[in-house]
Symmetry: C2
Subunit: 343 residues, 2 copies
């Protein structure tokens, strides 16, 4: 079934406010999830909402805090997320470093005790829209096996980068796993086998069964190099934010534990130089226009696909599993201790 951005935003926001979220926090969280749907990433979309609601109900997420921060150094904003909603704490931190970067040229926010960030592209795109370069890395519980290993020792440790140009920004967002755990959950939810090489089961054997993979481990992307990048991100985040390491991290996928992973956000000023932004977009256009490996399938630049899917979905709406939509509506109509605060 198809629903519109507005319908999805209204329901997601209401569900969160019913559970005591401040209205602006509910909107911030809802926007992140709906944005993922618009961009064609349902694995990071509304299917995440029931768990977020359950986590609020169990006191694992405080939907009324933005976390507490301090300047650990003149360009390092250190944040205790106080178990706030992931995007709420993150966006508040980003606003602080966006102010600072005017004088420092670069600033970083190092966040611990924050909940799941969801789709990282959302944050760096926001930074790029303010005219700055954005870079974010986030850790997770142990889901990925090392190159040459068989058991989950690393987080999926995604990284996202956005660089403004004279046209729309380049927006990269990738997990350092062969796939995100969100996508494996999506395969498990729809009952389809996964491609070979994505995952191992709990015994360390290769599997294409998403349900078995959920108990096992995902392969790193790009063999030794992707593994190397993933473990470097793992260490960099823990060292900067003082957050836990993958084997000790909980609360990114469950509704039982506080979330103790880490997030680091970098904001940088591009060099002020005539024509620089135009040179960047011209370059991206030349990459798009370069000869394709498959005739008729033009070369794409990171973010192109998501951008055109979003543009289409804003006019036509987006597809959602009817069972998920029913589940969300049921969660809305169920009596809630916070019902009196609904929009």
């Amino acid at each position: 079934m198809k629903i519109t951005e507005q319908t999805a935003m209204a329901l997601a926001t209401r569900l969160l406010v019913q559970r005591n979220a401040l209205a602006r926090h509910a909107e911030c969280q809802a926007e992140l999830l709906v944005e993922a749907e618009l961009k064609g990433h349902p694995s990071h979309g509304l299917q995440r909402l029931p768990r977020i609601l359950a986590r609020i109900e169990r006191g694992l997420v405080d939907p009324r805090t933005e976390g507490e921060g301090c300047w650990r150094a003149s360009a390092v904003w250190e944040v205790d997320g106080q178990n706030g909603l992931g995007p709420v704490v993150a966006m508040a931190a980003i606003e602080r470093i966006l102010e600072r970067v005017a004088t420092s040229g670069i600033a970083v926010a190092a966040i611990r005790n924050n909940n799941h960030l969801g789709m990282l592209a959302h944050y760096v795109e926001h930074i790029a829209e303010q005219g700055h370069i954005g870079l974010v890395m986030s850790s997770s519980e142990a889901l990925v096996h090392p190159f040459g290993g068989t058991h989950a020792m690393l987080g999926t440790n995604p990284i996202a980068i956005a660089v403004p140009t004279a046209d729309r920004p380049l927006v990269l967002d990738l997990a350092t796993s062969a796939v995100s755990m969100g996508k494996i959950h999506h395969y498990a939810a729809i009952g389809r086998p996964m491609p070979e090489g994505w995952a191992r089961d709990a015994e360390g054997e290769p599997t294409t069964d998403a349900v078995r993979a959920k108990l096992g481990s995902i392969a790193p992307f790009g063999d030794a190099k992707g593994y190397g990048l993933g473990i470097a991100i793992e260490l960099l985040i823990a060292a900067l934010a003082g957050s836990d390491l993958a084997p000790d991290i909980r609360g990114t996928l469950d509704a039982e534990a506080l979330c103790n992973k880490g997030d680091v956000f970098f904001v940088m000023n591009a060099k002020a130089a005539p024509e620089l932004a135009q040179r960047l977009s011209d370059y991206l256009d030349s990459v798009r226009a370069s000869p394709p490996a498959t005739p008729g399938r033009p070369v794409a630049v990171p973010g192109d696909g998501a951008d055109s899917r979003r543009a289409a979905a804003r006019t036509t709406g987006f597809d959602i599993e009817p069972s998920l939509w029913d589940e969300l509506n049921a969660l809305s109509s169920s009596s809630s201790v916070f019902e009196g605060q609904s929009l």
Copy 2:
């Protein structure tokens, strides 16, 4: 044949000083090349020296400058490399941001008009040895085809990260190409075919012939994700440093053009927290001890292999192609306009 670190350092330093390099600059450049040999990366070792010497002789490298910098913002050191030796300009910039990071917590050096950096691990390892987190990215001329493309549009755009621990630091260093152009040159030099999937020829067709590949393009590592990372690094460097983009970059592989690529170095302070450094090394040890995919081949952490090769080579010396050693010695004994300044 085997030579020792000391012998190699003496010859490389003398060759550079004979061409008018300041003694400390010659040592800095020689150390980088010899370090690559010790770590078992001959593609980034002494085979690069003849071209560096030729570039000095032709006035494309000024071996007496460290570049000129200014604080573009309180945490951004902007450098015009003035065509200095790559590691000389880089190390001078790193010293400046290492001073600044005590108060800013993070600082970046954005460098243009600098020569080839060589093995990036060298720089971040130096930063980690001072107790800080290091991250470097560097661009190059167009050598890599986009995912889904066939022609060189991106640099090999390497990234290196080092994070200090209670033990030795984690040191990651990877090109975002399937292999470095240095390795393809090495295959061409020894006349061996390359593995499939590494490269395409000038017509855009897949090839295993390293000589044909030198005129064509290298694949990105890790398919779409590695390509995405590479092009994001491409844009990030150009935006920060104001340097050129791959299709316009020259001077990283030739002895004909000034070098107009860009380098960005980040230095960050880890959080001061009890036991944090120990937690990081314990974690790395647990990754090493995790079950291997191949019995008897333990899981490695980035830098492990290079570190043990270097330890061995420091006592036994390292292998070098006799033809390269002869070539270097011939370059030393040849009369030079700067001969009077030899050590």
